[in-house]
């Protein structure tokens, strides 16, 4: 896909997201002006950008929506529930339409008629005054006729900055769009700035245009045609009859032949040759203070004398505080950053060997600074989870509606930040679990009342950070998990033997196994027994964990723990046999030494007495088939994962290590307990423990 089309698509996705968010908020908490405004602006922006790209069908459809929204915004009509539903449908249709248009495909006829029906429905809500005229609008957005005298005429003067073409916009599409919303009467190219051939840079747009444009539109709408290029052009728009602005134009353009050209092109029959000097322009400007009229212009000196930058001071310039950056650029930066961290740890190792205190100091300072930069770069990738959570609202509402349940959906902690990749990859699993909660968790309203609960079920989606991990919880106040049913089902499906004794937590965890669905009837929402295992897989792939607690009759809570970021972790380096391993610092509770007495006290068992508690030990060498090393002392690294605490028996503790995670390669996908590799300062590769899997493997 071409870059600018991609930007267009992203922009549309953003706008559609905003639209949906606002619509759902209306569904939840009633109509408010802000939401209507948001929906209108989103619709309007999509129309505008689609126009710039010449996607006429999108423009037509969005225009119909925009009209109705405008009426709602003006308070001419009341927005009711039906209309919100209609707008949601329109949003979905628009999404589909945008996809189809971008792929330059033909819309299927069923969809096409859906679109037509939606437009009809939109029109049917329009205030009674002039529904007919509006419907004409939709079909063929304004066919301006010369005979109508009251149609406004605008003078548009445009000069392009020399790097205009780098915006990816074409001049052609501007005219296209102008002709869509009105009619270009005269189009006079301005050629004075074209240099001699030898001085001509083919990448620069030397041309300018004086346009006489006929459209019964307010100033703002005409200006919006240029919304996407406003920073890359010198633009003046004023009513054709506005002589003062014309004088200003002629003065500010500093093109000797301009007035003659305009006369020749029959823009005007006569132009008062006002010799507007610089000061005079200033005066004029001053004489028109704060008048919210399109004529108000602010004239700025350009550093080059070739032209003047004319910026309109009304229609506040978009001061954008965010920047859209290609994610691959950040990934590249993170990669380089990782390399620098590795290179620097080599310097640190060397400076320790050389025992040079100054070098030591410098390299330590370097490490601190690198850490700051690394965190800064990582931070770019962090996004608030709230934006993606908001999308779930609709899914929850739709799901509940479809199966006739009454659900209140509450999101907390939307401001929690998480790596964008993680957010994207967690989205589908969360949708799946939310659907499950509503479908299986929350009871039918009648059953809820029988159970002494309010008929409205409640589903909570929470996010918060907890000691270096992010926790996402989905909690419902439904019927909870039935241990016996799960157990029976698991035995029936051969997942466990009928004699197995499992803890409650272990039983609940069975729902994440493939092929276990306790739903009595399979609905199209959930209950096919595929999914929860995929959910677990997805979360584990992100180095996260998933747990479930439940109380029969009271509800269930799913807790997901995720690392804040995927690219690096704080690790602790240990030696086992000939290999160095990294244990994620966040899972380490403490490190102790295994004394001779303790060793003897074990009496061949694999646990020690740690301050009165039994601590199961796991000899990493045995588990991973490592060779025996000669280290006399044994160290125990006590790791915790969820509720489980295990002591890992290792040969040597080597200290903390800032770990840049690299994939080990496809050959090692089946190695349990190891999640990746990291390159040490010495160039050696250390293996990173996946504590959750390691513990699971042992059990």
């Amino acid at each position: 896909m071409e870059e600018e089309v991609e930007i267009f698509l992203e922009d549309c996705e953003d706008q559609l997201g905003l639209m949906e968010g606002a619509l759902v908020s209306i569904q939840d908490s009633g109509v408010d002006a802000d939401s209507i405004g948001t929906i209108f602006r989103a619709m309007h922006t999509i129309k505008g950008s689609a126009g710039m790209f010449g996607y006429d069908n999108i423009v037509k459809f969005a225009h119909a929506g925009e009209n109705l929204l405008d009426a709602a915004r003006e308070g001419l009509i009341e927005v009711n529930e039906e209309m919100v539903d209609l707008f949601l449908q329109c949003k979905d249709y628009l999404e589909h339409l945008i996809e189809v248009e971008i792929r330059e495909e033909e819309m299927e006829s069923s969809q096409k008629s859906l679109g037509e029906n939606l437009v009809k429905a939109l029109i049917s809500y329009m205030p009674g005054e002039k529904p007919l005229e509006k419907s004409e609008d939709l079909g063929q957005i304004k066919e301006p006729s010369m005979s109508e005298e009251e149609i406004l005429r605008w003078h548009i003067s445009i000069r392009f900055h020399k790097d205009f073409f780098t915006t990816g916009m074409s001049i052609h599409s501007i005219f296209n769009f102008l002709n869509k919303i009105g009619k270009v009467i005269i189009n006079q190219p301005i050629l004075y700035h074209i240099p001699l051939l030898e001085a001509l840079n083919p990448l620069h747009p030397y041309i300018g245009f004086e346009i006489l444009f006929e459209a019964d539109l307010p100033y703002e709408e005409i200006e919006e045609v240029f919304e996407f290029i406003i920073d890359d052009v010198d633009l003046m728009i004023f009513e054709h009859t506005d002589e003062e602005s014309l004088s200003q134009l002629i003065a500010s353009r500093k093109e000797d032949l301009l007035s003659q050209t305009l006369l020749d092109a029959q823009f005007y029959t006569e132009i008062e040759t006002v010799d507007v000097s610089e000061e005079k322009t200033e005066e004029i400007k001053k004489s028109l203070p704060e008048v919210n009229k399109p004529e108000e212009l602010e004239i700025l000196e350009n550093e080059k004398t070739e032209s003047k930058t004319v910026t309109k001071s009304t229609g506040a310039p978009k001061v954008s505080s965010s920047l859209r950056v290609d994610a691959t650029k950040i990934d590249l930066l993170i990669n380089y950053m990782s390399e620098i961290v590795i290179a620097n740890s080599k310097i640190i190792t060397l400076s320790e060997e050389l025992d040079n205190s100054e070098l030591d100091e410098a390299s330590s300072r370097m490490r601190e600074l690198l850490e700051v930069v690394r965190e800064g770069i990582m931070d770019i990738r962090m996004v608030q989870v709230g934006d993606s959570f908001a999308k779930f609202r609709r899914i929850v509402n739709d799901t509940a509606k479809k199966i006739g349940k009454n659900v209140e959906f509450i999101i907390t902690g939307g401001e929690t930040e998480l790596d964008k990749t993680v957010v994207e990859r967690i989205s589908d699993p969360l949708v799946h679990m939310l659907r499950n909660s509503i479908d299986h968790g929350i009871e039918e309203p009648s059953d809820r009342i029988k159970a002494g609960k309010s008929s409205k079920g409640r589903v909570d989606l929470r996010a918060y950070t907890d000691s270096g991990t992010i926790v996402i919880e989905i909690e419902d106040d439904g019927k909870g998990l039935d241990k016996n049913r799960i157990l029976a089902k698991a035995i029936e499906n051969g997942l466990i033997s009928s004699t197995a004794t499992l803890s409650d937590a272990e039983i609940y965890k069975l729902i994440f196994e493939a092929g276990l669905s306790t739903a009595e009837k399979v609905s199209d929402i959930s209950g096919r027994g595929v999914g929860m295992d995929v959910v677990r897989r997805n979360i584990e792939d992100l180095r996260g964990s998933i747990d479930i607690t439940s109380a029969l009759g009271k509800g269930s809570k799913i807790t997901i723990r995720l690392p804040l970021t995927l690219a690096s972790i704080d690790g602790f380096l240990v030696q086992v046999g000939h290999t160095k391993y990294i244990i994620p610092l966040e899972s380490i509770q403490e490190c102790i030494e295994l004394t001779q007495e303790e060793l003897e006290g074990m009496k061949g068992n694999e646990f020690i007495n740690l301050r009165g508690d039994m601590l199961p030990l796991m000899d990493v060498r045995v588990v991973l088939n490592e060779e025996k090393s000669e280290s006399a002392r044994k160290n125990i690294v006590i790791v915790r994962f969820g509720e489980k605490i295990v002591g890992l028996l290792v040969d040597e503790l080597l200290g903390e290590h800032q770990t840049v995670i690299k994939p080990l390669g496809d050959a090692f996908v089946n190695v349990t307990g190891i999640s990746g590799g990291s390159i040490l300062g010495s160039g050696e590769v250390a293996l990173i423990f996946d504590i959750a899997r390691l513990i699971e493997y042992k059990i």
Partner: protein, 165 residues
């Protein structure tokens, strides 16, 4: 001067001819025998370097190594062929194919093989497994195997972990 120039030109033309004509092969020694592998599949050759053992892997998967900041899988080709272990010496090298480093005795050369010298492999009779051989080729008056790297590096097979003893 002018003769030098002409030499240069003919040399370049030669290069072009060989490049466009026949596929290039990378010849190397493993366990004392010469093998060839499609040169296009080889991304680079490096000196032998130490590696980190990864547990639970089949014996021929030696571990992982850091090559220019990337972690690559290290496989001992000789063990893969079932012909013992590669003896590490001065000339021991690693050939990188598909992000996997194959340990070999020494690098021989990169050259073409005339199409009439390429023969269909025998069904049996060669000391390495038939499935590792793509074709046989006459090279310096002896028959050598052109290796089937896809089969040697078959991920399904090499990723099978070994259960604890």
């Amino acid at each position: 001067m002018s003769s030098e120039n002409r030499d240069l030109i003919t040399y370049e033309e030669d290069e072009l001819l060989t490049m466009s004509d026949a596929p290039q092969y990378f010849f190397f020694k493993s366990g004392g025998d010469i093998y060839a592998i499609d040169a296009e599949s080889v991304s680079e050759m490096v000196e032998y370097q130490s590696f980190t053992k990864v547990p639970m892997m089949p014996p021929y998967v030696k571990g992982v190594s850091n090559i220019r900041g990337e972690i690559v899988t290290v496989i001992d080709l000789l063990i893969r062929f079932g012909l013992g272990e590669t003896k590490i010496g001065k000339k021991t090298s690693m050939v990188i194919v598909d992000k996997i480093a194959l340990i070999i005795d020494e690098v021989h050369e990169v050259n073409t093989i005339a199409s009439e010298d390429i023969k269909v492999s025998l069904d049996f009779g060669f000391k390495i497994d038939q499935r590792f051989i793509k074709n046989m080729a006459r090279y310096n008056d002896e028959y050598i195997a052109i290796l089937n790297s896809a089969e040697i590096l078959n991920l399904k097979e090499i990723s099978i972990v070994q259960e604890r003893a």
